[in-house]
Point group: C2
Chain length 247, copies 2
C-alpha cells in the first residue's frame, strides 16, 4: 500500500528499460513519493531489472499500478501534467517544474487527484498522451544540451514537489555541541588579545595604535564564534605567552 | 576553454567510477555549467569510461582542471560549499540547494569566485574537505530513503543554479499557430449557440430558459479558446444543423 500522504501519482508511459523504472522508483522515494503507475511497460511486468535497480525503493514497484492505456492511469484525476522537452503544437499551458508543483500542491490540498505523465526513454510522450494532459511540464535545460533521462526528469519533478509540500528552513547552522559566544565573552576575548598584544609591542607606532585596535575589535565583531572557539582563542594566546616566558 | 558565463565551479573530490564523472559532466551541461575540477580521481585521468558516459558533454571533461588536493581546486575561491547528506559536527551554515545557489548567484554577481565540492560516491566528503567550506549544502531528501548519487546531487545543484541565474517565465501557453479569441468573437460564438439551441428547443421549460442561457454564456466565458477553436465550434454547430436539414 502506498503511503497516505497526499501526493501526485507519477505515471511512466510505455517505459522501455527495467533499470530506468527502478531508477525512477528510487528518485520518487528520495522525495517521499510512492504512487507509481506503469502504462504498458515494454518488457512486461514485474521486471527483475527494475527490482534490482530499485534496491531500497522496491516497495514503490510492489505497489505500482499496471494499466494498458494512459487514460486508465489518469481516469480518476482532475488535473494531469505531461512532461516533455519539445513543443508539440498544442495550445496548452507550459510550466516550469516549480510552477507545476505549486499548482499540484494547491489542487491536491483542495482534494483533487493529480498525475504527472513521463514518456518512454527514447521518444518521449506521444501526442495522444499529451492531449490527455491539462498542462505541460518543461524543465528549462540548456537548449544546446537538453539531455535529461527518465529518472532525472522524475527526480527534478519529485524535488520540486517536495520543495513545495514540506517546509524546510532554507538555512540553519549546525551547532556541534556549542553555543554562540555572548557579547560579554567576545568583549573579554577582544580585551585579552588587545592587552597581550599591547604588552608584546604589536600596536606600533603609537600614532597608529588606536586605529589598529579598532580594526582588531572590528574583526572580532565580524567573526561568528562559538564559546568553544573563544576558549580556544584564549588558550592559543596564553600558550604563546607561556612559550615566550620559557624563552 | 569553459564558457565565459559567470558560474560556480563544481569540484568532484576523489571520484571513483569514470561513469559517474561522465554523468556529472552531463548533469552540469544540462544546466549550462562547464567548469569542472577533479581532485585525485581514483582511476587516474583521462578516463575512457568517463568520456563514453559524457557523450555530448565531453568538452566539460576536456576542460576539467585536474588537481591533487581539494585545497588546490578552491585556491582562488572566496566562498566554498560542501555537499553532504549527514551532519558532521562542525559549526557551519547548512543550506538547501535553493538557498545556496541564491548565495552563489549574489556572490558571483559581486565578482567572487565560488566552488561547490561533491564527495566520492560511497563515503562522501571527508571532514578535512568540509573544513575548507564556508557552508554546507544538504538536499532535503526523505530521511527514510536518502539515496542520492553523485550525478543526481550535481543535477539538483545545477538545476537550482540555473533556476536562480536564468529568468524563465514560470508559465507560458504554447499557441500552436493561433491567437486567443477576442471578446467579440466569443460573443458571436455564444450568440450562435444560443440562437441555434433556442430554435432546437434546448432551453426548456421556459421558466428555466433564462438561467440555462446564463449558464451557457458563463461556460463560454470560462473556456480559454483560440480563434481556431472558435471556428471549429461554429463549424460543428453548423454541421449539426445541416445534418438535421437533410433529415
Amino acid at each position: 500500500m502506498p503511503s497516505d500522504i497526499p501526493q501526485p501519482s507519477f505515471v511512466l508511459v510505455r517505459p522501455q528499460m527495467g533499470e530506468n523504472i527502478g531508477a525512477a522508483a528510487r528518485a520518487m522515494l528520495n522525495f517521499g513519493l510512492d504512487r507509481m503507475a506503469l502504462v504498458a511497460p515494454r518488457d512486461g511486468w514485474p521486471n527483475q531489472k527494475a527490482v534490482a535497480m530499485a534496491s531500497g525503493a522496491g516497495r514503490v514497484l510492489d505497489d505500482a499500478v499496471l494499466v494498458a492505456r494512459t487514460v486508465d492511469a489518469v481516469a480518476e484525476c482532475s488535473y494531469v501534467f505531461a512532461t516533455t522537452a519539445r513543443q508539440r503544437g498544442m495550445t496548452k499551458p507550459v510550466m516550469t517544474p516549480e510552477r507545476a508543483m505549486e499548482v499540484a500542491r494547491d489542487r491536491i490540498a483542495a482534494g483533487e487527484k493529480v498525475a504527472v505523465l513521463f514518456g518512454p526513454e527514447r521518444a518521449g510522450l506521444e501526442n495522444d498522451d499529451i492531449a490527455l494532459a491539462n498542462a505541460i511540464i518543461s524543465v528549462p535545460v540548456n537548449p544546446d544540451f537538453p539531455s535529461l533521462n527518465l529518472a532525472q526528469c522524475v527526480l527534478l519533478t519529485g524535488y520540486e514537489w517536495q520543495r513545495h509540500s514540506v517546509a524546510v528552513p532554507p538555512e540553519i547552522t549546525e551547532m556541534a555541541g556549542s553555543e554562540w559566544a555572548s557579547a560579554i565573552e567576545m568583549d573579554k576575548l577582544a580585551e585579552h588579545y588587545e592587552d597581550t598584544l599591547d604588552r608584546a609591542g604589536f600596536f606600533f607606532p603609537d600614532l597608529k595604535a588606536e586605529s589598529m585596535k579598532r580594526n582588531l575589535r572590528n574583526m572580532w565583531s565580524r567573526m561568528p564564534l562559538t564559546r568553544t572557539d573563544v576558549s580556544m582563542l584564549h588558550g592559543m594566546l596564553r600558550q604563546m605567552v607561556r612559550w615566550k616566558d620559557k624563552g
